[in-house]
């Protein structure tokens, strides 16, 4: 299996973890070719994740914007409310086949943590989740949710107490108990084989879109748009279209308070090549290679790196990446709510915003597919606060 995408990717981890990565790579190579594994996975996609997810024609939005037709890939209607479940199902099934008895993972706001805890509960596998101290405080409800599902949540107060530190701590924990523990990475990041593996478990999104759009429109979309944190929902919807050069692939990254401030997470726009969290890719870092604190109101995009395959697609010009600010994302959040009656995850709202502008510039015979990677219930509180609305539940 190729460990790199061009110059990006690789396995930059402590020696203690290398054999575990090799073991996972071998198991993945074996099972991804195994018809029984694939049958089971398909069943889990259908029965547990609620796949296939709908491809929804956003008629009101399309009408209102007056340009290209907009379709939304409804990953928000998956069990647990986002695309994260696809990857969790794949890796959890793999971990089970490998005979692992324990799962560890990192989580930012808690989406990946909740998805992992959910499937660990179903699979009766012990689950230990690392979450930055800041995030634990901001997302106390998700902590309770994970605990309710039977997981143990450890608050990480090193570094900035956010997602990257949760990853650090999960790696540390993994080195302690690497022999019987599986690290279930939440995005297309980290050392090989994670970026390949997570992409393989997420590419179902794009495969479904192809079938659905051909059925609905008889042709491929002109552009596919997705938000990019680590990049799993984006690669998931892009992958099947990479070979179709006419389909524009557009990733949207979090510009937070703006690219001209220190408060953003726009890795491609403002980052540079580096090596971190086991991979060579693009990172936000200072001149000496220190990883920078990042910011986005969207916890799922609040990460200083990006998956190596995206760095590669960007380097060869196959995909483009654009920044969208907090404020713009909130505009889109409100717009989609009022226009289609769909409250998007604030992550996904970044992609929606870009698509709103793109649609206006394109003719009516063009088609844009946006990955609605998750639902926004989790973000309503934060948006209310941002808008200055007092919420005091009792």
């Amino acid at each position: 299996m190729d460990k790199k995408f061009g110059e990006f990717g690789g396995q930059y981890v402590p020696e203690t973890l290398m054999e575990a990565l090799i073991e996972i790579e071998k198991a993945f190579a074996k099972y991804s070719e195994d018809p029984e594994f694939n049958r089971e996975l398909k069943e889990l996609y259908e029965n547990v994740a609620n796949r296939p997810s709908k491809l929804y024609y956003a008629s009101e939005m399309t009408k209102d914007l007056g340009g290209a037709k907009i379709y939304l890939k409804r990953e928000d209607l998956n069990h647990t409310g986002s695309h994260k479940i696809n990857n969790v199902l794949g890796q959890m099934l793999l971990a089970k086949k490998m005979g692992k008895k324990k799962i560890i993972c990192e989580t930012g706001a808690g989406q990946h943590g909740v998805a992992t805890a959910t499937i660990a509960a179903l699979f009766k596998i012990e689950c230990h989740i690392f979450m930055g101290k800041e995030d634990v405080e901001r997302q106390a409800l998700n902590v309770f949710r994970m605990e309710l599902l039977g997981a143990k949540v450890t608050s990480v107060d090193s570094g900035t107490g956010t997602l990257k530190d949760a990853v650090n701590e999960a790696f540390r924990q993994w080195t302690r108990e690497v022999e019987d523990t599986y690290y279930l990475m939440g995005s297309v990041v980290g050392p090989h084989p994670y970026p390949v593996m997570v992409r393989e478990f997420q590419k179902i999104i794009g495969e479904e879109v192809r079938e659905q759009i051909l059925l609905a429109e008889g042709k491929l979309p002109d552009a596919v748009v997705a938000c990019v944190g680590g990049g799993s929902n984006a690669i998931g919807i892009f992958y099947d279209f990479i070979k179709d050069e006419q389909v524009k692939l557009i990733g949207v990254e979090a510009a937070g308070e703006g690219l001209d401030t220190d408060f953003h997470a726009a890795t491609i726009s403002k980052g540079s090549t580096g090596i971190f969290h086991g991979m060579k890719s693009k990172f936000l870092q200072d001149d000496f290679g220190k990883i920078m604190p990042v910011y986005s109101m969207s916890a799922g995009l609040d990460y200083p790196g990006i998956g190596p395959e995206h760095a590669y697609l960007y380097s060869i010009g196959r995909a483009n990446y654009f920044p969208v600010t907090d404020e713009e994302a909130i505009d889109a959040f409100e717009y989609l709510s009022k226009m289609e009656g769909i409250i998007p995850a604030i992550e996904s709202a970044h992609a929606i915003y870009y698509a709103m502008n793109l649609a206006k510039q394109l003719d009516k015979d063009k088609i844009i597919v946006v990955n609605l990677s998750g639902r926004g219930d989790k973000d309503v509180y934060q948006v209310a606060k941002y808008k200055g609305v007092e919420i005091n539940e009792q």
């Binding site: 930059y12 090193s158 650090n168 540079s272 000496f288």
Partner: protein
């Protein structure tokens, strides 16, 4: 065979001694204290010096060294400051000096430029905890060109084929990780160390230095296997955490206790 590391191990072997390798994070709590701590350690007779460059995300470290990294960053210690520190040490000392740092610090600095600075400062080797043998080629040619050693690590989990590959590629000595987990003191080391040692010794003649979790003379004396050296990190960093700018003398006494 001009690298100070090789010379040191040759010298120690001839006098049937084991190497005492000690670690300190540069800039913890400030670069001046690091300088003084190192002078004390050398005065007390350490054999090899390992200097850590602070990093924002030291993911192979336990809390002790991790926090030292944050303290050093808080005092604004940069890679260039560490080069200057080594240069200053080289005025007085010829001890082998190894930098411990994360790969991104080298990559971002510029691989070639970094190795040049190492030579200029008088650095003998690099320990890069997130650069396994599979990725060593990233830096190898740059380091070799400047005669800087990259010290490879092996862990109890490392299997035979990779062990073989690692020792083949190694130079200077092999950093043998005593047990699973990150750096930091351990109450007990449960790895079967004599087996670990024998597996290594059967395939290489390179010096084998044991690290991770070692903290006092009694513990070290009790360890199984014919190790050629021991690396002490967190135990020293803990003293610095406790005494701050007053730590040089305490570190000195600690080193003395190890030597007796």
């Amino acid at each position: 065979m001009n690298n100070r590391i090789d010379l040191k191990f040759k010298e120690l072997k001839e006098s049937n001694k084991k190497a005492l390798i000690t670690f300190v994070t540069a800039g913890d709590p400030d670069i001046e204290t690091s300088y003084k701590v190192i002078r004390e350690m050398i005065a007390e007779g350490i054999d090899i010096l390992e200097i850590g460059i602070p990093f924002s995300d030291p993911l192979a470290e336990g809390p002790t060294i991790e926090k030292a990294s944050y303290r050093a960053l808080a005092s604004n210690t940069t890679t260039d400051d560490v080069f200057n520190l080594v240069k200053k040490l080289r005025v007085d000392y010829n001890i082998p000096i190894i930098l411990m740092l994360y790969v991104n610090l080298i990559y971002k600095y510029g691989k070639d430029k970094f190795m040049g600075k190492c030579t200029e400062a008088g650095i003998d080797g690099l320990i890069i905890p997130d650069l396994p043998i599979e990725e060593v080629s990233e830096l190898k040619s740059y380091a070799s060109a400047k005669e800087i050693y990259i010290i490879n690590l092996v862990a109890p989990t490392t299997k035979s084929d990779r062990l073989l590959k690692t020792v083949k590629e190694s130079e200077g000595f092999i950093y043998c990780v005593s047990s699973l987990g990150v750096t930091g003191e351990r109450k007990k080391i449960t790895t079967d160390l004599s087996d670990f040692y024998n597996r290594l010794r059967s395939i290489t003649n390179l010096p084998l230095a044991l690290g991770f979790g070692l903290s006092n003379k009694k513990q070290i004396d009790g360890l199984k296997g014919g190790w050629d050296g021991f690396i002490i990190g967190s135990a020293i960093v803990n003293i610095i955490a406790q005494y701050g700018i007053d730590s040089p003398e305490y570190v000195g006494s600690f080193i003395k206790s190890l030597k007796n």
